[in-house]
């Protein structure tokens, strides 16, 4: 029983780290641009398909494929900012609708290019190990990649936001775009930067997790639903809240899946979010209400 609990904990850590990568990106976009990016799950999906295209179909090294996924999706993020979100910046609903349009287009484009069937991707490294010498607990190395990748990226993002001038500019824009512009910070440039970081994080998550999850053109749907839950529970605009909520959700969802079933776990997750919204309509760590 202890071993099952420990195994579930390990799985939960994997689920939360991968969710944190996506939710923090979603939050970053909302913080700087005030747009809820519905196409974020599709950015994740494109990251996974970069691995399909480069690694599974053409036998290039896995980590090269991950890097390509990261850069490709990041650049796509910059294009999204320029073409979709910048023209409608003063109207958050329009940004949301535009991202829904993009979601439909990306799904259809990938479905036409790769087919709607699930892709089979062999993990580059099939090795597993038993942490702390526990026989009953198995960790696949591939999952460890995701956990380490998420940890490194989130830590460097934190340092970037706290210690560099670009990071300060980004946080200033998130707090008050007008005041930031008065200080000589370019809002367009900052938005582009935020969009690149957020999209690249989603692409990285998709690329690293591609051999572990079901990779098909509509895989973004379940991811975006979860990411919404996490961002809302954490409170819109709070990156620390997003990470906390990702861990909370990861553990709750994994435990309910293990001891009941997946659909019940989804329902519990959604109810958890509704509960948080009812008790604290701006999320656990959300402080301000952005109108």
């Amino acid at each position: 029983m202890t071993e099952l609990l420990l195994q579930t904990c390990v799985n939960a850590v994997y689920a939360s780290s991968f969710m944190a990568l996506i939710a923090v990106g979603l939050m970053l976009i909302f913080g700087v641009m005030g747009v809820v990016n519905f196409a974020h799950g599709e950015l994740f999906m494109l990251g996974a398909y970069c691995v399909v295209f480069v690694y599974a179909d053409r036998d290039f090294p896995f980590f090269l494929a991950v890097m390509i996924g990261l850069v490709f999706v990041g650049v796509l993020g910059i294009l999204m900012e320029r073409a979709l979100f910048r023209p409608v910046r003063d109207n958050p609903l329009a940004g949301l609708i535009a991202s829904i349009g993009l979601l439909l287009m990306l799904q259809a484009a990938v479905a036409m290019g790769f087919g709607v069937r699930m892709e089979h991707i062999n993990p580059p490294n099939q090795a597993t190990f038993h942490p702390f010498g526990l026989e009953g607990v198995v960790v696949a190395l591939q999952r460890l990649y995701v956990i380490i990748g998420a940890g490194v990226v989130l830590a460097s993002l934190w340092v970037f936001l706290r210690r560099t001038r670009f990071g300060w500019a980004l946080r200033a824009c998130a707090q008050d775009p007008e005041a930031a512009a008065l200080q000589g910070i370019s809002i367009n440039q900052t938005a582009r930067l935020a969009m690149f970081i957020a999209a690249a994080m989603a692409g990285l998550a998709g690329a690293l997790a591609a051999p572990l999850v079901r990779t098909y053109p509509y895989m973004g749907h379940s991811v975006i639903v979860t990411a919404f839950i996490v961002t809302i529970v954490g409170g819109l605009g709070s990156l620390g809240g997003a990470v906390t909520a990702a861990v909370l959700y990861g553990f709750v969802h994994t435990f309910v899946t293990t001891f009941s079933d997946g659909v019940i776990a989804d329902i519990v997750g959604l109810l958890l979010m509704l509960l948080v919204l009812v008790a604290r309509p701006t999320g656990l760590l959300g402080v301000r209400d952005r109108d």
Partner: protein, 332 residues
Amino acid sequence: MVSAWGSRGAFVGLFAGLIVLPHLLSFSQKEVAVFLVINVLVVVSYRLLTLTGEWSLAHVVITGVGAYASTLLAKRLGVPVPVAMPLGAAVAALTAYVLSFPLFRMKAFYFLIGSFAAGEVIRLCWKRFREPFGGPKGIKLIPSVPDIDIGIVDVAFFDPVNYYYLCLVVVTASVVVLRRLEQSRIGLTFHAIHWQDKLAESVGVDTRRYRTLAFVIASFFGGLAGALLAHYLGTVNPNQFDVESMVYVLVWVIVGGTATIYGPILGVVALTVVNEIVLRELGVDQARPLIYGAILIASILFLPDGLESLGPKMKRAFVRARERSDRGGTRG
């Protein structure tokens, strides 16, 4: 007076066209016409909800509540279908009333996401609980609307043309009711809440009660649309009411525009015609979401007030062009 007669004439013409229409279509197009009329009710009821300024992502699930409720009443409890349909709509309205307690604590994005979550919970319950909702495969063999057979009049609703007329009657009546409602004091209050909710509150309007009212009424008519759909198709399943269907409703409403009741109708009709005539004839089934997405993005970037704003815009441009040519003429 002349213009009133003119618009009345236009309406009479429109209805004559709508009555003749199904006889000019092929069988599959007749079915599409049935779905189109039902979808008109979905978008018009959705617009009532957006009047107060809140955009819900649960509306399609609410139509599903109407469909499931009416189905279960008719199939399990043996309620006659014409009674089960409004009862299903009432269940949808009741569901909305219950949901309004948690949801209207939130505003703007929180409401959007909260309504999405609430809708998904309901949908996942249909999927998970085989008893009584039938699980992922849903419910089949739903009783259809009983045939009318009184002497000379014999109307079988299995025929899409007759079902089309039934839907047309129900939907037209609903649209008239919704339009009247919008022009009434209640409707004006909805508008006031949308544009100036603090000001409305300061003169004693209970904004939350009016938001709830809009949500409940919109859900009643949405549920009615769902019931109409269920008894025509003869089957309901959770995937009919997923977020993709909600996206299509959003596309129709956004492309049409929400300023007047005609905007969403224009949107759903225009896009259905494009979908059925242009895309189906071209045989680009797989690329359809691609084109829909492009239309959505283009309309949000270039026509943010929807198709309905096209008429006045062109009129203005025309007037301006004429003024310019007039000025040019006097100068010359």
